[in-house]
């Protein structure tokens, strides 16, 4: 029996190709995602392993301020170096300094992308403890001499002996005396690395020669890493710890996983899931149609004595086979997708570590199992239906099209949709904690309900959407509309694939549009200045605080305030701090102060966003312990509460409060208010005069700044669109496949139409029309669903993500509709051509 199924699959292989393609693409994306994740993980792994290769133990501060975005660890006392050196079993000790340092090229522009770190460090003489190798020149010996990594030298067009500027963030003139590689690579990923001798690094990066960032230790022969770390820990002062090199590597990996890889992987898997879901619809549809077309064959098998179970088994075996073949093929497609994704992230400025793709048996197993299962599950319903065919059907000229829609479907679909919509509405209106989760569950239910109800809507929708067709293309149009109406289940299932893809696109469009509008709205409302000096958005560029001071001193400028970022433990948990000169800040930014005053924020005072204060029951006058990375903890008093946390974040402290604890004092943005009577243009020119010598950060007008404040969202949305394109392509192929199968089924009708005088052009126009109706049905459904769910999520997240402005970007949504219509036309091209080429005689004679 199974052999019959496999033979029959082989005979029908052309018709199965469509289903295979859908699985193929879905599995390609899934395995591509997994391969990319694995590759990045492996590359980071080996990078960290190389970096820590000769290091048996690291001595460092035990205090870590860990926010979700990054973490800070304070420096330790230089005196610790002597203690470490005295421990038995220590072969070599290297005090190490590491911090932020932006290398400039000859034009004064920063080297390195916006993502990877830009490091200033101390050069370690012992090659066993240094992952960098000198390939040219020598190690730095005097202040102002540096070694840079070869990658940074290449991209900045710097050569041995050149002089340039390093900003830590204070600009220092440096002379390149050595070029180094990281192992044999040009660098540690895309990281730029500039190394001084130890005293210079201590002075420039840590601001004091009695501190180091960490101490790297090499064990003597016969002493294990664990043994060494244990001995070190016995002599170290409190607040300082030693860990093994292996632990350090593991920590590095965990950090990169938590900060970046984990979310990247989850993000990509969501899209792989969407692609597979869309693919599942295509498979379901293809197998349904094939099962219907095969009713007679199935009935004949039954009449000849095959049991229902045998028939079901045979049909399931067939879909398993399709799934397996397509999944294996998809695995190879996945490698191509992984390359593509890598290129994509590179194009959007990710700067991922290079290296070949990592392909493990685990990935192959996951991809093949998931792909085959999805196919088999999608094939269960059609197979069950086909196996229920009565044997007598073999003797009848059976109608292959079921057009009834059951009561059960109506109740189930309606119920699901109703509950889903209610949940979304509830979440949108209450906006409390957990609202987003409720909205998400509601969204899934609504989608499921719409899919179940699809066949009910297909007929009226086709009537409405197809209404203009008869007027546009006469009889061909009428036939197109009627064909779209004739099998609502097929039309709905075909459209559903597109609906899911378009729905997600619309949802993202609406949500991103609203988020962008909300950010711009609140930034626009609170930013009262005229100019802003900014550094590249991701990964934190930095400005010398002196820039703000010097700009503030310009006669064209009334006030300039630099905003820095820090981290500390506030009231028990790690939080990001915003650091600013409060008096200046109030002149340029309107934070919407609700209580207290920001202008006089003292060194033992802080200001909180109202949201944070409310969440913790803090109020004006509350005393909160604030712990810094340097292990000092002081009580701070809440001196002000403010509304707008888009610019100032949740916690705001004065520069005076932060400076004593800061390793490097950096500004991330400077806001400028132009003096009265001075044209903004003139002030901008003056400001540029100062910034040109400071790494050339961007100087933006108010309008530009507000517009760019949500710039990251556009880049993200770009990536999302590219990823979702795949889902749309799968849906397109689903439509093309359904049409091709329908045409095959209607060969006789098409032959008749040709016989009674339909021209080829009319046939093509008819099939195009049908495709258009299906595609527009799916697209309109998807856009409607996406906008509604987008609205629900935006409202539900109004509190947590501050999406207080809802916008449905009309232009983009109209674009999505156009894309849907184009998809319809594209999908019909091949089937239409085939239909028009039918041999009339054979078509009429066809069974």
């Amino acid at each position: 029996m199974t052999r019959i199924a496999l033979t029959s699959a082989w005979v029908r292989k052309r018709r199965l190709v469509g289903a295979c393609l859908a699985v193929f693409l879905g599995v390609s994306f899934l395995s591509g995602t997994l391969v990319l994740g694995q590759t990045l993980q492996r590359n980071f792994d080996s990078l960290f392993a190389d970096a820590n290769a000769g290091t048996d133990a690291v001595v460092r501060s035990a205090t870590k301020i860990d926010t979700r975005m990054d973490f800070q660890r304070g420096p330790i006392d230089t005196a610790t170096v002597a203690r470490v050196r005295a421990v038995d079993g220590v072969a070599s000790v290297a005090p190490y300094v590491e911090g932020y340092g932006q290398l400039l090229d000859k034009h004064g522009d920063g080297i390195g992308g916006s993502g990877p770190p830009r490091v200033a460090a101390s050069w370690i003489a012992d090659p066993r403890l240094n992952a960098y190798r000198l390939v040219q020149g020598r190690a730095p010996h005097a202040a102002g001499e540096v070694v840079v990594n070869r990658g940074a030298a290449k991209s900045g067009k710097l050569a041995l002996g050149d002089t340039t500027v390093l900003e830590t963030p204070r600009p220092t003139r440096v002379k390149i005396v050595g070029i180094a590689t990281f192992g044999s690579a040009d660098g540690f990923g895309e990281t730029t690395y500039t190394a001084f001798d130890l005293p210079a690094a201590q002075r420039l990066v840590l601001g004091a020669t009695d501190r180091v960032s960490s101490i790297r230790v090499k064990a003597a022969a016969g002493v294990t890493q664990d043994e060494l770390a244990a001995r070190l820990n016995r002599v170290l002062p409190t607040g300082v710890q030693a860990i093994t090199g292996t632990q350090l590597t593991k920590e590095n990996n965990d950090d990169i996983n938590g900060q970046f890889l984990g979310s990247l992987r989850a993000f990509l898997l969501v899209f792989a899931g969407i692609a597979l879901l869309v693919g599942a619809f295509s498979i379901y549809n293809t197998l349904s149609i094939l099962a219907a077309q095969r009713t007679r064959e199935s009935a004949l098998l039954r009449a000849l004595g095959a049991s229902r179970t045998q028939l079901l088994g045979a049909l399931l075996a067939e879909s398993l086979l399709v799934g397996l073949v397509a999944s294996v093929a998809g695995l190879f497609g996945g490698v191509a997708i992984a390359e593509l994704l890598k290129a994509l992230f590179d194009a959007f400025g990710g700067g991922l570590p290079a290296g070949g793709l990592a392909f493990t048996p685990g990935i192959a197993i996951i991809a093949i199992v998931v792909g085959t299962l999805v196919t088999a599950v999608a094939g269960v319903a059609p197979a069950r239906k086909a196996s229920r065919v009565p044997p007598i059907a073999a003797l009848r000229d059976v109608a292959t099209e079921a057009t009834t829609t059951s009561r059960r479907r109506r109740l189930l679909g309606g119920g699901l949709a109703a509950v889903g919509v209610l949940a979304v509405l509830l979440a949108a209106l209450t906006q409390g904690g957990g609202a987003v989760t409720i909205a998400a569950v509601g969204a899934v239910l609504t989608l499921a309900g719409m899919i179940v109800c699809g066949p009910l809507a297909a007929r009226p929708a086709s009537t409405v959407l197809g209404a203009p067709l008869p007027r546009l293309s006469g009889m061909a149009g009428t036939l197109a509309r009627d064909n779209a109406r004739r099998n609502p289940r097929r039309t709905a299932a075909t459209a559903a694939a597109l609906m899911v893809g378009v729905g997600v696109v619309s949802l993202f469009t609406v949500f991103a549009g609203s988020l962008k509008a909300s950010i711009q709205d609140s930034v626009g409302r609170s930013f009262a200045g005229d100019l802003a000096i900014t550094t590249p958005g991701w990964g934190g560029g930095a400005l010398d605080p002196q820039v703000a001071a010097r700009v503030g001193a310009l006669p064209q400028v009334a006030a300039a305030v630099g905003l820095g970022e820090g981290a500390a433990r506030v009231g028990g948990s790690s939080r990001r701090l915003t650091i600013a000169d409060p008096a200046q800040l109030a002149r340029v930014v309107d934070l919407g102060v609700r209580a207290g005053a920001i202008g006089q924020l003292g060194d033992r005072q802080l200001a909180l966003s109202e949201k944070l204060a409310r969440a913790h029951g803090w109020h004006l006058g509350s005393r909160l312990p604030v712990g810094f990375a340097d292990r000092t903890t002081s009580p701070f008093t809440v001196a002000a509460l403010y509304d707008n946390d888009r610019i100032a974040g949740d916690v705001l402290v004065s520069r005076g409060a932060w400076a004593p604890h800061a390793v490097q004092d950096l500004d991330s943005v400077v806001f400028v208010r132009v003096a009265g009577g001075v044209a903004t243009r003139a002030a901008e020119t003056a400001v540029r005069g100062i910034t040109r010598g400071a790494g050339n950060p961007d100087v933006k007008t108010r309008q530009q700044y507000v517009a760019s404040s949500a710039g990251g969202i556009n880049a993200l949305l770009g990536i999302v669109y590219v990823l979702l394109l795949l889902a749309i392509v799968i849906a397109l192929m689903g439509i093309a496949n359904t049409l091709a199968l329908s045409i095959h089924e209607r060969t006789r009708e098409l032959g008749l139409l040709r016989a009674v005088g339909a021209t080829r052009r009319q046939l093509r126009s008819m099939i195009r029309g049908e495709s258009l109706v299906i595609a527009v049905f799916g697209t309109v459904g998807g856009v409607a669903l996406g906008v509604f769910l987008g609205w629900g999520l935006v409202r539900a997240a109004a509190d947590s993500a501050q999406t207080d402005v809802f916008t449905a970007p009309i232009g983009q949504l109209a674009g999505v509709l156009v894309v849907g219509a184009v998809v319809g036309v594209l999908a019909s091209l091949r089937p239409a051509r085939r239909a028009a080429r039918l041999d009339v005689l054979r078509a009429i004679a066809a069974e």
Binding site: A399, G474, M475, A476, T478, L479, D482, N483, R485, R486, R748, E749, G751, L752, L753, R754, A755, V756, G757, A758, T759, R760, Q762, V840, L841, I844
Partner: protein, 269 residues
Amino acid sequence: MAPDRVSAMSYELSDGARQRRSPNTNIAASAHDAVKVYGAGENAVRALDGVTVDFEQGRFTAIMGPSGSGKSTLMQCVAGLDQLTSGRVLVGERDLSELSDRALTLLRRDEIGFVFQSFNLLPTLSAAENITLPLALAGRRPDGAWLDQVVTTLGLADRLSHRPTELSGGQQQRVAVARALVARPQLMFADEPTGNLDSRAGGEILAFLRRAVRELDQTVVMVTHDPLAASYADRVLFLADGRLVDELSDPEPERILDRLKTLTEGVAP
């Protein structure tokens, strides 16, 4: 084509004098030395092997012959559904071999009507829509009086809004006949029109085809293997092995059967 135009072509009409109606000398369609070869080389089959025949306007012609005799091929070639290997087919004065696919399509749409064995109605359209389909494809409005006449004659007046699945086989075939007639074609072809019908429904269809010839001045060419069906025609052509071997005028079933017997005996050695 204007009814008074006389074709210059010669034609044979062995039993012409016995026609009940005044003989009409117009030729609706003709085949000249028609040859149709399927396949190539050793596998080549000559489905038509030099057939010359005229179909006069206003007459009901039946084509008979054993299976494989080429009767369907002849009809399909004359109807512009298939192309000859050599020879000519004229419909009116047009040589079909010189027409493009589009011109052939328009010819079929405007001047030829078809009735098939298996009805071939579009399931999505109502009976009325199926009937007017060729006109709709041409973007023309039906001639109301003519449509009424056709529909009434076929007894379909109260079935017009039904879909094909709601009609009996006989009714479906009557819809197909109405569709073939509605554009007032020069020629109407019927390929085993009663093959899928019971004898009563079949008789109705045949009677109607004859009325279409007598009363509506249509030209009908029918392929059949049923002597009873052929007896409704004015003239029966017999084909064997791709050649025209015999013909009868105003045939009766018994005579047709006799001829068929001699034909098959002649074929068998």
